[in-house]
């Protein structure tokens, strides 16, 4: 049997999941803004752990790199620049509580809807080692990648070695993602980069002190 199906993964999942939820709860309950930001980073890290358990190493690493290594650090940096933080700065009244709660409920509803809408069967079966699904997955990816251009080459043919094929799909998440970004969703990708560029210029304009030459 393989290690994926064993109790080790289950135990790891529960540890990571509990950590993620606990950290997320602490983010909103802890009074100290600095600690809240630190717990946010911890929540991001735990999410990265979940990605690892899902065999999405690329996503996990990117999660750490961007959310933990860059976004949270900048949040903490900003928190440190603003003085008198340890005293805490409580919510600004009932309006914010209600607005926040409403937003949270809406978000939760959306996630639950998406979870129920998604067809999880093929992923479940693939994880359980169902050869048929694995073959289907393999075929699907091969169909997406035009063969012969060096973009995606799976190890083995569609039906040659299902185990290797399934692993191949997971081993090459980066390549698959890259193909999807550059080929199928290139428009969205470029639009997002334009948005990011605009944000960057906006940030520069904000940060530039008026009248200062430097």
């Amino acid at each position: 049997m393989s290690i994926e199906g064993s109790a080790v993964v289950d135990v790891a999942f529960w540890i990571v999941a509990v950590m993620a939820i606990a950290a997320a709860l602490l983010v909103v309950t802890v009074r100290d803004v600095f600690k809240a930001a630190a717990f946010l980073a911890a929540a991001f890290l735990a999410t990265a752990g979940l990605f690892v358990l899902l065999r999405a190493e690329f996503l996990a690493v990117v999660q750490v790199l961007i959310y933990v290594g860059a976004v949270s650090i900048l949040i903490i940096f900003t928190v440190m620049l603003v003085r008198n933080v340890p005293g805490g700065n409580r919510t600004g009244g009932p309006f914010y509580v209600f607005a926040g709660a409403a937003a949270a409920v809406l978000l939760a509803l959306g996630i639950v809807y998406a979870a129920f809408k998604t067809d999880w069967t093929d992923l479940d079966q693939a994880a359980a080692g169902d050869d048929r699904v694995a073959a289907a997955l393999t075929g699907q990816y091969q169909a997406e990648a035009a063969p012969g251009d060096g973009g995606i080459e799976l190890i083995g043919g569609p039906a040659a070695d299902q185990e290797t094929a399934r692993q191949g799909v997971f081993r090459r998440t980066a390549n698959n993602l890259g193909t999807l970004f550059i080929r199928d969703y290139v428009l969205a990708f470029e639009v997002i980069s334009v948005v990011l560029l605009a944000a960057l210029i906006g940030a520069l304009a904000l940060a530039r002190e008026r009248g200062a030459e430097t």
């Binding site: 620049l81 003085r83 904000l206 940060a207 002190e209 008026r210």
Partner: protein, 368 residues
Amino acid sequence: MTLRTEPVTINIGPHHPSTHGVFRLRVTFDGEVIVDAEPVFGYLHRGTEKLAEERTYVQFVTLTDRMDYVASMTNNQGWVLAVEKLAGITPSPRGVWLRMISAELQRIASHLVAIGFFLQDLGAFATPLMYTMRERERILDLFEILCGARITYSYMRPGGVFQDAPQEFWPRLDTFLKEMPHYVDEYERLISGNEIVLVRTKGIGKVPADTLINASASGPILRAAGVDWDLRKKDPYEFYDRVKFDLPLAKESDNFARYIVRIQEMRESLKIVTHCKEQIEPGPVRPKEVPFLVRPPRGDAYAHIEAPKGELGYYVVSDGSIAPYRCHVRAPSFINLTLLRDMLVGWKVADMIVTFGSIDINMGEVDR
């Protein structure tokens, strides 16, 4: 819209690695930029001037050692010159030559310390400091041969010095004079062309020359601004009119100029020592007729010398007894700090340390 950060006040010192002793600087930062700086002194105040009033003129020599403790010889020299001026003592020539030799060696040693710690303040991981300390050790060895002490020499007396240089001193001095220029070249190779040193020091800590004059700055700081003022040339005491040397000047008045002036002054000091060694004549090192208990007539006198850090002056008032009635020390380190705030405001934390190091102060002298 402007983003404002709140200014923060930090105490640099008295226990800070780069304050060269127990100096304290209350600095207000806006981020990393200095908005305000105020020096606070007195952590090493021992009342030296008051102690002088209870000691004989010779006894006080030992206390002058403790003022600028990296340049004790020049402290001695200033004091004995003041006493000689006050009491009308003519020193014996050999004693004067020996005083000049030791004072110039002391200048080299002091500049070595200044450069070493200046680079240490720049963040060089002790390497230049170790190099300069290596040569300073040799000077201290020479002084040890001369008077038996390595830091607090008390070598000089009104009228000369207290003992002649032993025979083994001269060959050791010759070797030192022969090798030292190469070591100075080595510092220059290591430091002067270093790109990081250049970007960290050039143009930083600039003060115009007339401001420096108005603020009574003296020594290498003044000469780094292009002011041609060295008491050895302008008001020659001892036999400085009989030796040939140049006056290194720079005109940028920044931290690098102060460093380079010190480097060049070390070379000039070596020249002076060589000249002294050539001209020294045999004879007593101290006139026999000068009594041990000097009893100057009533009156006052002010003697100033070019100490390594600037103009070191002693104002002595005598009431005709064996102890000075009043002794005031014009300490170069102390007065050079007048302009510290001007040099610092607008620069960054790192520049502050470097500028402070470039002034080359000694807390023993500042606080006295």
